[in-house]
Symmetry: C2
Subunit: 116 residues, 2 copies
Amino acid sequence: MTTSNTGTGDVDPAVREELDRLRDSIDNIDAAVVHMLAERFKCTQQVGRLKAVHQLPPADPAREARQIARLRSLAENAKLDPAFAEKFLNFIIAEVIRHHERIAGDTGNGQLPGAS
Amino acid sequence: MTTSNTGTGDVDPAVREELDRLRDSIDNIDAAVVHMLAERFKCTQQVGRLKAVHQLPPADPAREARQIARLRSLAENAKLDPAFAEKFLNFIIAEVIRHHERIAGDTGNGQLPGAS
């Protein structure tokens, strides 16, 4: 196949069509993920409030270890790099902790209610 | 309500049940997101190959700007912090670039095929 690009902005129509098709899928997936994450943060905000109100320990390392092991295994089955899945969970948890710091501040409780 | 925790590991059953319910939802959402991301990387790997084969320009800043604006707007509607949605996209793109570096290496093309 020699349907190459002959210059910037001058892309073979078949290649452009294939690129657009892939980008549409990427955009659909991103929309789905953003909505899933919005739901996830609703859950973790409830966890944060529950922990703050009932003085539950801020962190649960056993829970977090189970989450990581499970996500790595799911990733492997889905042919996603397990190391990336773990990095992704850590990225999300960092945001959850940021939210929980706000909740702890709001309830006047200096203790952080944990991420999971 | 005074169903507070009276010590580590000694959690009111109703609170424990609510926490477990929320964690089950978090786990379901994480599984969904991991599978969506596996599909997303399949798409971006195809984009990477397409760009490498057809010598398309590695980056498309206009496309990326549209992606960011769109995700911020979707996030706002879903009541997710738009700044987080943007941070999330950047986190994913960093991983895509890592993949593309590998593809570029494999095809013997030093040029990076871009993230989107």
